[in-house]
């Protein structure tokens, strides 16, 4: 579904849990530009990780 208007900050907030919001912020991803793939339009971690990020490199997972 296409969205003409970006979401309001309050709406975005409800659609993403705090750690996902924090991750988006750390990666410089604007949640209002994302379309949530979770139930009820919830923005998931995968949505954020899949979005173009100005701070490209994700912290690697190290063993």
């Amino acid at each position: 579904p296409d969205r003409a208007e970006p979401l309001s900050p309050a709406a975005v907030r409800v659609l993403a849990k705090p750690p996902v919001r924090k991750l988006a912020k750390d990666l410089g991803v604007d949640l209002a530009t994302l379309i949530g793939s979770g139930p009820g339009g919830v923005i998931t971690r995968a949505d954020v990780e899949g979005a173009p990020s100005p701070h490209r490199a994700m912290p690697e997972r190290y063993a």
């Binding site: 849990k17 705090p18 750690p19 996902v20 924090k22 991750l23 971690r45 912290p59 997972r61 190290y62 063993a63």
Partner: protein, 459 residues
């Protein structure tokens, strides 16, 4: 008419009922609250609060007994049960006064007496019919017993009697190794009694992760509490000096008292629920995740709804139903997101899935666990407590279960439930700082380990 007709009519003023009444009043609704006993219900008067007061007295006793280990010269001389009861009553009465004031200040009409559902939206109390645009059923639960096992309140007792005992029994058999049974076992042992727990299931607190059950049983054994798990009860006979408990197979145990703690049943009989056509199952009232029963405008909250029987679940149900009635759009919290604490010495706390449940849900390859031993945690060493933090996570996914054992770990479940309910990943938690030296550092260390960055742990 104004006195008998309400926007919301609540039957039962326990955790679920009073929370619903308070929130509904806050949202501007006119509320009637029917209670036959005291505002606050089981939790405040014969449940959470008095048991936790006993458990704290037990902690004080243990602390005095072991003071020498910390360089404190003190002697433990015994338990003054009337003193313990006075302390317990003091706590209950203070909170009761607070609650009573709160209910009054919000303008809630309290209707004293036993109510019965006499119409789809009508509750009759002492011959007077009260009506509500919405009706909320919140009649709670009672201590069950086993067929043929009669509670006499003297030798064979339930938690309700146990809370009012005026002396410390020399020996007790606790029938049932669930939360309530284990909590009383813990108290009585600290108070000096010989305690044996008899449980038919293969482990104590069987709803918890197997690791937690094993750790509690081990800690109990060290404290001198005998756990007879996997041992069905057969019968009990009252004698002149106490009670003789026969196990399946014929073995007998003698004790001064038998505490029957085999679970709590819903208090729903003879209240008109069936007559009004409310859908029920094995005595419980069926409700959806917004508390709605099958009857339009009739809701159910708390222990009468199948699921975890916990006060904070009752509060949450009550708030949710009030908001639902007021036309808001509240978010339900599923039972798995509800924190569970057993306030024994040591405590057991958890939220989310056990390892077994996670494997069942996602498959063994998709589940990862990490156990951080409190031996590496400075504050736990200072408290001289043992235990662990166990995390259950989806591989490359969120933490789906947190399980803790150790003195005072019940307080760590606040953080644990945020991680669970906010679907945190190890990588989200790992970079954050936990204050040193606290027990909550152990949660931090466990997430570091899960993220492959163990600090104060081998691995």
């Amino acid at each position: 008419m104004a006195d008998t007709d309400f926007d919301v009519l609540v039957l039962g003023a326990g955790s679920g009922g009073y929370a619903c009444a308070l929130r509904a009043a806050q949202l501007g609704l006119r509320v009637g609250l029917v209670e036959k006993d005291r505002l606050g219900g089981t939790c405040l008067h014969i449940g959470c609060i008095p048991t936790k007061a006993l458990l704290h007295a037990a902690e004080v006793a243990d602390s005095a007994r072991e003071a020498g280990q910390f360089g404190v010269r003190a002697s433990f001389e015994g338990i003054d049960m009337p003193g313990v009861l006075a302390y317990q009553d003091g706590v209950v009465n203070r909170l009761f006064k607070g609650l009573t004031g709160l209910v009054r200040s919000r303008g809630i009409t309290v209707i004293e007496g036993a109510g019965r559902l006499t119409g789809p939206r009508e509750v009759t109390v002492d011959g007077t019919a009260y009506t509500g645009r919405s009706v909320v059923l919140a009649t709670g639960s009672y201590s069950r017993t086993l067929p043929g096992l009669e509670i006499d309140g003297e030798r064979v007792i339930t938690s309700e009697h146990a809370l009012r005992l005026d002396h410390v029994p020399s020996s007790v058999v606790v029938l049932g190794g669930g939360v309530i049974g284990c909590e009383f076992a813990s108290v009585w042992r600290s108070f000096g009694a010989e305690v044996t727990i008899v449980e038919a299931l293969p482990r104590l607190i069987a709803g918890e992760d197997a690791a937690s059950s094993a750790a509690l049983e081990r800690a109990f054994r060290k404290r001198g509490i005998t756990s007879r798990t996997g041992t069905p009860f057969s019968e009990a006979k009252v004698t002149d000096h106490g009670v003789v408990v026969t196990l399946e197979g014929g073995e007998t145990i003698e004790a001064e008292l038998l505490l029957v703690a085999v679970g709590r049943g819903p208090r729903t009989a003879d209240l008109g629920y069936e007559e009004q056509g409310i859908a029920m199952e094995r005595g419980f009232v069926l409700a959806d995740d917004r508390g709605r029963t099958n009857l339009e405008g009739v809701y159910a909250v708390g222990d009468i709804v199948p699921g975890l029987q916990l006060a904070h679940r009752g509060f949450a149900h009550g708030i949710l139903v009030a908001e639902q009635i007021a036309g808001l759009d509240p978010r339900p919290v599923p039972d798995s997101g509800i924190p569970r604490v057993t306030y024994t010495h040591p405590e057991v706390a958890s939220v989310g899935l056990t390892e077994a449940a996670a494997i069942e849900a996602y498959g063994a390859e998709a589940v990862q666990t990490v156990t951080y031993d409190l031996g590496g945690n400075g504050k736990s060493q200072i408290l001289r407590t043992q235990g662990f933090v166990k995390l259950v996570a989806q591989v490359d996914g969120p933490v789906v279960g947190l399980h803790l054992v150790g003195d005072r770990v019940g307080e760590l479940i606040g953080e644990a439930q945020l991680i669970y309910n906010w679907e945190g990943h190890a990588d989200d938690v790992a970079p954050l700082l936990h204050a040193h030296p606290t027990q909550n550092e152990a949660l931090g260390e466990a997430h570091l380990a899960l993220a492959g960055k163990a600090l104060h742990a081998h691995g």
